[in-house]
């Protein structure tokens, strides 16, 4: 981010930026930066809180009226945090049921199909309710993603369901869409409340989908091609969630 500000400013455009990682901004020294204490993924702070977002935007824009720089100021407010855990979530099925005992790939895939079918209903409601979805980069439907993943785990390594997109890239896009569909779907279920950490804990800790993505990750790590290696190492499971699968492995 700081690099872009240097390039644009050198070309004659005044810039002001949001800084999420103060230490990086201090190294790159962009002309104008507003450091914010928000979590990664939320540079303007709080969803569905227009007045809060406006305060962030205006604070960043007002740096354009500074007389000299580089200048970095701190945004003085933290986001209103949600503390209600997603444990109050009402699930249509007990997603991770007995998976500790049922370790064969076939049973895992049956559970995945069943879980995804249930979430699909809620995802449809979410679209109807919000008239918006962030899923769509793979352009695959949820059932198509499920069958793609099951096929890959079953041994098919060269059948990309997306035209002109290699399998490794297709897996990444499909995984992003799957997560978006699940999270948008569960968000509209009655009883669902919780912030980003609770949502991540729910997806990575309680769904068969997450275990399926991890199964794909483990396969990728055993394949020789660089794109699968990169996928397995970095692009499927967040670093902060990897411990779950190591713990499950110990339990099995």
């Amino acid at each position: 981010m700081g690099g872009l500000s240097h390039y644009l400013e050198e070309e004659g455009l005044a810039t002001t930026q949001i800084s999420l990682i103060r230490e990086h901004t201090e190294i790159m020294k962009p002309p104008r930066a507003l450091w914010v204490p928000f979590e990664l993924g939320r540079p303007f702070g709080a969803p569905d809180n227009a007045s809060f977002q406006t305060r962030v935007v205006v604070s960043a824009l007002e740096l354009l009226e500074a007389h000299n720089g580089p200048v970095m100021t701190d945004f003085p407010e933290d986001t209103p945090d949600f503390v209600v855990p997603i444990a109050s979530l009402v699930c249509p099925v007990s997603f991770a049921y007995s998976l500790g005992e049922r370790t064969s790939a076939d049973l895992l895939m049956d559970a995945f199909r069943s879980e995804a079918a249930d979430l699909h209903n809620w995802y449809d409601i979410a679209i109807r309710k919000g008239e918006r979805t962030t899923a769509g980069i793979s352009r695959l439907s949820l059932p198509e993603i499920v069958e793609f993943f099951i096929s890959f785990i079953g041994g098919s390594r060269d059948a990309s369901p997306i035209i002109d997109v290699p399998v490794a890239s297709a897996l990444r896009m499909a995984a992003e869409d799957l997560k978006a569909m699940y999270l948008e779907g569960v968000a509209v279920q009655p009883g669902t409340q919780g912030g980003s950490a609770a949502m991540a804990d729910w997806f990575w800790g309680e769904t068969v989908a997450a275990r399926t993505i991890n199964a794909i990750r483990e396969i990728c790590l055993e394949l020789p091609e660089n794109d699968f290696q990169l996928l397995g190492e970095l692009l499927l499971v967040p670093r902060t969630q990897l411990h779950r699968f190591q713990e499950w492995k110990k339990d099995e």
Binding site: L64, L183, L230
Partner: protein, 153 residues
């Protein structure tokens, strides 16, 4: 207060170890009062229109988001899994505050909103984006943009 302080130690160490380019110059462009500025958003969130090409590993190019775009037309194909998406799923303005800019024009806080806004994919080394960024600057100046709001993710 810093979120970095709230991260698990391994994640914090990983982020702090990421390489950052340094720059020998300190460019500084002045302009009119904020109320007369034409503002464009440039994000590194890997956003693009639903029908545009998704970003891939190492992408250093950008995607165009017209000013009349609606929330449901925009998706995110940033390659990193290590940041929250649920905020964006709930409200695109938490990543791309185009609605807020439109309101600020009505309130006469800023002069106007640019005709086009832009997105890079921030997992790529910014040095690799240099040529595209400089080219983009010229395009924005042709759109009379004189203020760029840069947003990471």
């Amino acid at each position: 207060m810093a979120r970095l302080d709230r991260m698990p130690e391994d994640e914090r160490n990983h982020i702090l170890a990421l390489p950052c380019p340094t720059f020998s110059s300190s460019p500084w462009v002045t302009g009119p009062p904020l109320a007369k500025r034409r503002v464009a958003i440039v994000t590194t969130a890997g956003l693009h229109l639903r029908n545009s090409q998704p970003f891939g590993v190492g992408a250093s190019d950008y995607r165009i988001i017209p000013a009349n775009t609606t929330a449901n037309e925009v998706v995110m194909s940033h390659i990193s899994t290590n940041f929250d998406r649920t905020g964006f799923q709930q409200d695109w303005n938490v990543v791309f505050p185009l609605d807020r800019l439109r309101e600020l024009v009505g309130e006469k806080v800023i002069g106007s909103v640019a005709a086009y806004h832009y997105s890079f994919m921030g997992a790529t080394d910014p040095v690799r984006m240099e040529a595209n960024a400089r080219s983009l600057a010229r395009i924005m100046r042709n759109d009379s943009v004189d203020a760029v709001l840069l947003a990471p993710v």
